[in-house]
């Protein structure tokens, strides 16, 4: 049942020999940059204490960052970077597990391999070994980076271990997800959504935490989240090592579940059998096809944005109460909002809207990469052999991505406005909907960038598209915190969107961004028209 697993591990490592090292190098870079930024910005204990004091009283900051665990250098690095590194570790192993299990089954590779002297469970074992191994290397790399920056050993070890074990727990979750869905995209979406839920649940627990003179105590929801566990281990703040048993237990439970499910189902099958569908179709034109291919994705993102928007909107009142002339919180929030002044609660909402702008851009990138999937080994060739021009084909997908991004932002804005109104706030639904849409041009710029790389370098389109998104986030949202020069920050579209509702929307930057987006997309389409199809 397990024969051949070792050979499949080597095959998986061979396939991932570029991808996994890049993930790990990015994690090391984020860690090193985080330490450098803290050292630079808050060189002494007093400045750190002041900043954290302010942050601790702001539920919004706690929601995004977690609770502070102390005022030492390491503790602030924890506050600044641990949550995002835990998410990174979780996504790394999620994608790795699905890539080496369900994706192989969907493409038929597993069938070819399974016909060799390879056991039923070998593929699953290999995927888990690779994902868990990569998580351990990731944790080790982070620990060494922290030690190299001169931080205490115990905290550095706890920090790296938390990342490693969180990655392993999500490897288990992804292994179960890969058994449930017949499509790799669906399995990835489910597991990645659980990463988001885990982050959000932890955020709620931290935001509801009780403020005491010694700091903030985390509320119970954090204990339900695997990402919460990593933070509850409190690296650099009286480490609670025993908490790290929880992700190991979750991994064990998920692995047992995944094996039970794998033993019960057919190769390529899921738990939900396929039912017959319509014998005739009602899809019309490339737009009808593109919408059909993207609609599940759009629905998922819109619902997610509405739920998250409502959650954040309901915090408006708390923010109003909590942020009474608190210098530290004002500083952090202002940085998140890109330095805009104005009413504090407006700045808070603007900062949150910026996050939704990035999420809408992520959606647009994901939706547009469908073009590449259709071209490479998909039905794209057959579609382009019909009377559908290449530009029309790309434009149909672009329309779905742009419309979907607008819907995501609108859903977030309206939900935020409604929840704020329900909690007694006065932002107004229309204002918040407008604030959401103000982010759209930045998301569209990313969409244009994806079309450009798809037209120019099809074989690298997927890597370049995601790299572009990550660079945008790092430059635009955390540029101030990382101390990047303005010239570099300005490369990110997110540093140009007006921080509505903190400031009024001005047409200048919006029109400029839309112009850039259109130029990128038109250029990408022209390049695509003039190149060979690259299967």
């Amino acid at each position: 049942m397990t024969a051949g697993a070792w050979r499949l591990v080597r095959l998986a490592l061979r396939r991932d020999r570029v991808r996994l090292p890049i993930w790990i190098l990015v994690a090391m870079a984020v860690t090193a940059a985080g330490v450098a930024a803290v050292v630079d910005e808050f060189p002494d204990e007093a400045s750190r204490a002041e900043a954290l004091q302010g942050a601790a009283t702001s539920p919004a900051v706690l929601l995004m960052r977690g609770v502070p665990v102390g005022t030492s250098l390491g503790a602030v690095v924890n506050f600044r970077n641990l949550a995002s590194l835990l998410v990174l570790a979780a996504l790394l192993s999620t994608f790795a597990v699905v890539r080496h299990t369900r994706q192989n089954e969907e493409t038929g590779r597993a069938e070819l391999v399974g016909a060799g002297s390879v056991g039923r469970y070998a593929g699953l074992i290999a995927a888990l070994v690779v994902a868990c191994g990569a998580s351990l290397v990731l944790g080790l790399a982070i620990t060494l980076t922290l030690l190299g920056s001169g931080l205490p050993a115990a905290g550095s070890l706890a920090f790296g271990t938390a990342c490693a074990l969180t990655g392993m727990a999500f490897a288990g979750i992804a292994a179960v997800s890969a058994q449930l869905f017949t499509g790799a995209r669906a399995a990835n979406a489910c597991a990645a959504a659980l990463v988001g839920v885990a982050y959000l649940v932890r955020g709620i627990g931290d935001a509801l935490g009780e403020v005491t003179p010694d700091g903030v105590t985390t509320a119970w929801p954090s204990w339900l989240s695997p990402i919460g566990w990593g933070m509850l281990a409190r690296p650099y703040g009286e480490e609670r090592w025993w908490v790290l048993v929880l992700p190991v237990l979750l991994l064990a439970a998920c692995v047992a579940g995944a094996f039970a499910l794998a033993g019960r189902r057919d190769l390529g099958g899921g738990l939900i059998p396929d039912r017959p569908g319509p014998a005739t179709g009602s899809l019309h034109g490339p737009l009808g096809l593109a919408w059909r291919l993207n609609r599940g994705l759009v629905y998922g993102w819109v619902i997610g944005a509405a739920v998250a928007g409502a959650g954040i909107g309901s915090l408006g009142a708390t923010v109003r109460d909590a942020m009474t002339a608190n210098a530290g919180a004002v500083k952090v929030i202002n940085q998140l909002a890109g330095g805009a002044g104005g009413q504090l609660v407006d700045v808070f909402f603007a900062a949150m809207m910026n996050v939704f702008g990035v999420l809408a851009a992520s959606f647009a990138v994901q939706a547009l990469l469908r073009l590449r999937a259709e071209e490479a080994g998909g039905p794209g060739e057959a579609v382009l052999a019909t009377a559908v021009g290449r530009s029309r084909w790309v434009a149909a997908h672009l329309a779905c991505a742009a419309g979907g991004a607008a819907a995501v932002l609108l859903a977030a804005g309206v939900a935020m406005g409604l929840a704020d109104a329900a909690a007694g706030g006065e932002e107004g639904v229309l204002t918040m909907a407008g604030a959401g849409l103000a982010q759209l041009p930045a998301a569209l710029t990313l969409a244009g960038f994806v079309v450009l790389v798809f037209g120019a370098l099809p074989r690298f389109a997927v890597a370049l598209a995601w790299a572009g998104l990550v660079a945008t986030i790092v430059w635009g949202m955390f540029g101030d915190m990382l101390g990047l020069p303005d010239a570099v920050r300005d490369l990110s579209p997110f540093s140009h969107v007006p921080a509505v509702p903190a400031v009024a929307a001005t047409p200048g930057p919006i029109l400029a961004l839309v112009g850039v987006a259109a130029a990128l997309a038109v250029g990408g389409m022209a390049l695509f028209r003039h190149r060979d199809l690259a299967p």
Partner: protein, 297 residues
């Protein structure tokens, strides 16, 4: 009448690999043209150039009187394509995929669609992810043949079909030919090409090595003869044009060049022949000869 497809001196390179090296192809309007070659000879690359999916490095390519790269969309309205490796959308049903392709091509004959679904015994309510290779192929075939077009470009369209479906396919090709359509049929199945094709082009390493009707191709080659007589047949080995002679008592088998057939028959007349069979070379034998190996002798 103009040629439906006319290709001369076609060159296409991928990096350092020369996929097509001066390929020539001419398909007359209204004919079924067989397109043969071993794996990697450049058949699919040629077809992709003909569909405007790849751009020719040099050479002239004309399809239905237009340039497939420049006029792709206009020309695609007049042709239907069945890829060798049919990829469909896993969550659409076969019926939805057929109608979608029809819609994208500019319309579908619904009565014809129903007839073909029935003929190919396709269940159009199943999701594409559950189809076998053969069934995915049927989806592409129904979508193509239910379109009212002038040209069918078929890239190994029957590689996953069973013999019954192969017969249905041949019947369908004859029908569209009867209606005046042109068919370019890339295939590995010699019986299918022999049964359907008016003319054949054989390519090798990106260049055309032979092109013409089956009769023309055979003319250049040998006939296989098996003779049974009352005694051994002597003197054959000395005759010009006789090859691969195997004498086994009263039975003799040999191949003979078409040009020398009359003199060989005169020689055989001197013996008491009890039985004799002869058959022209099969396409398979022609094909194998072009690749340096003997067909099973």
């Amino acid at each position: 009448m103009n040629d439906a497809i006319s290709v001369t001196g076609l060159i296409k390179t991928f990096g350092s690999t020369k996929a097509l090296n001066g390929l020539t192809l001419s398909v007359r309007t209204g004919e079924v043209h067989g397109f043969l070659g071993p794996n990697g000879a450049g058949k699919t690359t040629t077809i992709r150039v003909l569909l405007g999916l790849l751009r020719a490095d040099s050479g002239t390519v004309s399809l239905l009187g237009g340039d497939p790269w420049r006029d792709a969309v206009r020309l695609h309205r007049r042709l239907a394509y069945v890829p060798g490796d049919v990829n469909l959308w896993p969550n659409l049903t076969g019926g939805e995929a057929i109608d979608l392709f029809g819609d994208l091509r500019g319309g579908l004959d619904l009565a014809r669609r129903a007839e073909l679904v029935d003929r190919f015994q396709l269940d159009p309510t199943k999701r594409c992810r559950t189809y076998s290779k053969g069934n995915r192929q049927k989806v592409a075939l129904v979508a193509a043949f239910a379109s009212d077009v002038e040209l069918f470009v078929l890239d190994e369209p029957t590689s996953g079909l069973d013999p019954l479906m192969e017969a249905a396919f041949q019947q369908t090709v004859r029908e569209v030919r009867g209606q005046g359509a042109t068919v370019l049929l890339s295939s590995h199945i010699f019986a299918e090409v022999e049964a359907l094709c008016d003319r054949v082009s054989i390519i090798r390493e990106g260049a055309t090595v032979e092109s013409g009707t089956l009769a023309e191709l055979r003319h250049l080659t040998r006939t296989s003869v098996a003779v049974e007589a009352n005694g051994p047949i002597t003197g054959l080995a000395g005759l010009p044009g006789v090859h691969d002679l195997v004498a086994d008592g009263s039975r003799t088998r040999f191949d003979v060049d078409a040009a020398e057939l009359p003199s060989v028959l005169r020689h055989l007349g001197k013996f008491e022949v009890r039985a004799m069979t002869s058959h022209p070379p099969t396409l398979e034998e022609l094909f194998m000869r072009h690749y340096g190996q003997k067909a099973a002798s």
